[in-house]
Assembly symmetry: C2
Homo-oligomer: 317 residues x 2
């Protein structure tokens, strides 16, 4: 294991240290999922279980869906899982790793040196491995079910599209970097609750729950790093930059809570569900439908630490 | 271990298979360096050894360098190693992984499905881990020598800059993708010879040689994947696209063989070497100086397989 002192000996002026980041950097090789043996996925596959919970299908109670043949419902659930995996992979590649990459280059001048670079570069290895895990999980579903269902039939999720739009709309490099940091922070601090939606559901394919559980274990550590780094960076920001970062957090939370109908539309289109437009319109307009639960307790607690809980324009519930 | 059949059962029309890619996808968890325990780098560090070979310092025989105090030469050698690591990391992040990412999305319509996606996504985990390994190696040098020497004092290497320029200059998305594939192919098929320059040198820091040796082991497998994929993609290209890909290979080889004086200039500037401009001018103009050896045997053998050995405009030597 690599010993990474909290305070590098070579730079006595470098006074910024973080016990959380140093500890996580130091124990990565013992805790990271990528360092563990690979599970035998095919052995875990149970053909009798659902690939995806109905609770996460926004139109599960609509008469069009309820009236579909069981095979079509099976296929839509398999698509739901493949879309879930694609969303996780897209977020890792296009939201999380670009944000960590900025921290690795110390784009925000934290002055933490190699401890920070090592901790976030480790996290980037984890994220690339999670991409592989979720790809393996989708490949397994395709193989065991005997259905093609390629990712490329699905669009990028709303989160990735909105993060990209925010990058393009940023007025300068600093704003772009702060927006990237904010989206990454929301992703890393709230992804565990998204993953819990699968992990805690006994009716679901055990291999899917195992994939999510392994992933989740790494993310608890990443949440600590993201939380700590948000505090350290925020300290150093000027007041206009702070405002920009907080707006980015609010935009990120809004993007992550949105139900992504473009993905469901592509799935229903691909399955040739005749009345898909009526069902999707009804679902969009259904005011009684509860939001897809995204738990922002972690972000709220971060905002409390930053003393901005009431300044961010979010009605915490 | 995950069993990945060469021919996915779910798509009987999917006839493209590759025994090489399937085998490497299937044994990744047993062979990948990221799956092994981390070496204790601090234990391997030998203060009496050089951090970087003089043979890789293009002005090592120039009277300005020869006349420098030994401490300055030690510092320049440490910088040389840190710059070598930075170059490896930049190439992984900005040349190799973007190329693999195109293959993972099957941007070239190989029809290989999950086998290809899994194999290259595994390779991307490896590359992200190599970035961590080389960062750890530089962090160790900084820590053990007690010198700051931050990467951010150094520019991107010529390879990364020229690859980026080729992307910006591409006429359309297909050309951009083919250029990205070509640069990745050159990087993955010739990087082992670049790494050998350190691995085989007994006068060099053992920890540096160990880092490179571990990295190299993964790269032999990546070279096989890159070589196989170049052949499969080339088969599917139209003749204008083939020409574009071959020009990209030639440009990539040229970029990778160039000695990067901008990096050396930044290093000598940082060390306050008074006569650096005269030394660099002399070195640039020295016709007897041999090129930094980059071994293109692998690319030549690929070109022979593609039956284009004489069409690529390279004087193989």
């Amino acid at each position: 294991m690599i010993d990474i002192p909290a305070l590098p000996a070579h730079d006595p002026d470098d006074l910024v240290e973080s016990a959380v980041v140093s500890r996580l950097a130091g124990n990565w090789s013992n805790r990271a999922t990528v360092k563990k043996p690979e599970p035998d996925l095919d052995d875990l596959f149970d053909h009798s279980k659902h690939d995806y919970p109905e609770a996460l299908i926004p139109f599960a109670e609509h008469d069009v869906y309820v009236g579909l043949p069981e095979t079509t419902k099976d296929r839509i659930r398999a698509w739901g899982w493949i879309a879930f995996n694609k969303n996780v992979m897209d977020v890792e590649q296009h939201v999380v790793n670009p944000g960590f990459s900025l921290l690795a280059q110390d784009a925000f001048d934290t002055g933490m040196g190699d401890v920070l670079a090592v901790a976030v570069t480790q996290a980037m290895v984890d994220e690339q491995y999670h991409t592989l895990m979720h790809l393996n999980a989708s490949a397994l579903t395709r193989r065991q079910r005997g259905w093609a269902m390629p990712e490329r039939a699905l669009p990028f999720s709303a989160t990735v599209r909105r993060r990209a739009a925010a990058q393009l709309g940023a007025g300068n490099a600093t704003e772009a970097a702060l927006s990237a940091l904010a989206y990454m922070t929301v992703a890393e601090i709230s992804i565990t609750s998204y993953l819990d939606l699968i992990e805690d559901n006994e009716s679901i394919q055990p291999v899917n729950r195992a994939t999510v559980k392994l992933h989740n274990r790494d993310e608890y550590c990443h949440a600590s790093i993201a939380d700590e780094m948000a505090v350290i960076v925020f300290e150093k920001l000027k007041s206009t930059e702070r405002r920009f970062f907080l707006d980015g957090l609010a935009a990120g939370m809004d993007a992550f809570s949105a139900t992504d109908f473009s993905t469901w539309e592509a799935i229903l289109q691909s399955e040739g569900v005749a009345e898909k437009d009526r069902m999707l319109d009804d679902t969009r307009n259904d005011r009684t439908r509860r939001q897809l639960v995204q738990d922002y307790t972690g972000i709220r607690s971060l905002c409390r630490k930053l003393d901005v809980e009431d300044e961010i324009g979010i009605a915490w519930t």
